[in-house]
Amino acid sequence: MDINFIDLSAGSVILLFLIGFVGGLVSGFIGSGGAFVLTPAMMNMGATAIMAVASNMAHKFPKALVGAMKRHKFGQVDVKLGIVLGISAEAGVLYGAGIQEMIRESFGKAGSNLYVSSVFVVVLAIVGGYVLRDALRMMRSDNPDSEKKTKIAEWVQSVHIPGTMMYFKSIDAKISVLFTLPIGFATGMLAATIAVGGFIGVPAMMYILGVPGLIASATELVIAFIMGMGGTIKFAIAGYVDIRLAMIILAGSLFGVQLGAIGTTYVKPYAVKIVMGVIMMIALTSRLVVIPVYLSELGQIEPLSESTASLLKDLSFGLLIFALVTGATIVFKALIKGMREHREKMAAEHAVPGTFSPASSEDAHQLSPTGRLERVMLVTDGTEFSRGAVSQAIELARRCEAKLFAFSVMANPELGQESHELEKKTLSERLGKVREEAAAVGVDCEILIGHGSEAYVDIVDQADASNMDVVVMGRRDTNDLVRTMLGSTTAKVIGHGHANVLVVPRETRDGGKGILLPIDGSRYSEAAAVTALNMVKQCDAPLTIVSVALDERLKDDAHAHASQVQRAMAEAGVEANVDIRVGRPDEAITAAAAEHGAELIVMGSHGRTGLDRLLVGSVSERVIGHADCPVLVVKL
């Protein structure tokens, strides 16, 4: 067959982009939507029906992929359920397309249209009516957050058929695949007929399997991805995919899908049902108004005049756009309202959402590295690796009479809010124990839990926002595995943050005494020297300056650097010993620390380059990885 792709004008590109955006917004929120407007819109631009369907599918699956990935981050996607339903739905699509073809051959185009419209109206009236009723019931109930499981779902979850049971995290129960297979198949079959599979898939998950609304709508994106990809491959093999059209729509829809997905985190569960129910009811009306046109074409009723028929068709298309715009408006309003309420709530609870209490004006401190240690931030993940960090941070705060701030970062929620809450409770308890330990030695301690996919970002921002003087962190047992230091949260905090970082190995040697100051004549080691000087004054510990020459010829230089720092220390009233060594700097420094029995190494970091490999500086990095005592990394 000769395939002609349409010419695209600037106007049609903008229109496709905008419809894509609105459709994306809705599908990011309810798991589907947009397709029913896009296909006729492309046909209006001159694309043939099959090409419009093919190109729509080619935009749908990448959109669903991005949406599913986004909502997976929020812990809303049951990937396993999505895949199981998606595969059976794909089979349903293929079977449904065959039936569709058969009807077209038997009853002609008008007959086929009538069949599709009738199925659409009946199915959407039943399902959409139920969804809307359920949404309104939830909205008016005393506890709008709770979703009641239907009797069918209770029964489905209670049936046990040996050899067919599969566990799904979203419902925390085993369900027989003998239920999921026909549901997926029926979803796919109806999707092939009425082109909006999500309107069946999401309610089926909610009311037959007992999946919560938010998770069902997010999981639908996985099903849409599988079905869309299968469909696109089929159409692409036949050569019908106009990838330009698909990518223009995608350009807009990805902006929308991200926003829609974000919106789900601010709304109550019934909001998804309201948007879905409302769209279904308006879309149903759109189909209802064209049924007389098909009936007249089939000669079942008095023939309609051409103008009436075209008016009804335009009205139908207008209603589809109205359905989509109404859905998008509800999503937008919910997003704006939700964000505003969240900010107001946060503002009422704290001065700045999610930060430690700020430094008061009386104990306003100078910036590190020249100032005293007054605000010590302990970062703990609750594992044994941060054990050393906890005791060091408490000891440091006690000796310097500083305030301790214990901080933990939680990953974004995994599927199922319960496990997330449980993790939060465990972390709170651990932090509470740290507070108790600190209180036992007279140290005042605040605790806080942060959230983020990248822990280091939250730690750095928290340390900056709360003006911390030093961040105390544990070190994974690296020994020779210095590579694992790289890219670790600790390395990234050192590289990206402004505060000094005290890196503490899991077990520090007992009875350490004194501070070791490795220097190399750079401004970084000068900054470290200033900090070491202040610490010695404050804590009265012996100080040893270590300067390492790579070979014998450079020994004089090393000596000159060390003497310079020693003189500066003496002028400030601090006596320091000098130790000149020859060899690899990192090995010489760790060996010196062990021989002198140092309790702390204070050294500079060459700062922020943005590249993980160069975040810390190779010598500092190796010393941090190998030292058996804590290392204070001083930032410029």
Partner: protein, 78 residues
């Protein structure tokens, strides 16, 4: 500017630039791409690969774009 915001701005610029380049390439090689698509058969991979690549690049761009303006998911920060 917080590190979170800085990262979002940097990523928006990086992915946005790649996305613009990809769309320009699609526009420049429009004829060739459509010709290959039209042939169908094993050439089905052409639109598939394009769709996947665009979804990764443009998906990252749009995600970071909203992040940059502070439109982020709700967290349960204490």
């Amino acid at each position: 500017m917080s590190l979170e915001r800085k990262t979002a701005v940097k990523n928006t610029i990086i992915y946005g630039t790649i996305s613009v380049v990809l769309y320009s390439l699609l526009y420049t090689y429009e004829e060739k791409i459509l010709e290959l698509s039209r042939e169908g058969g094993w050439n089905f991979y052409v639109p598939m690969v394009i769709a996947f690549v665009f979804s990764i690049v443009h998906g990252n761009f749009t995600g970071q774009f909203w992040d940059m303006f502070g439109i982020k998911p709700k967290t349960t920060k204490k």
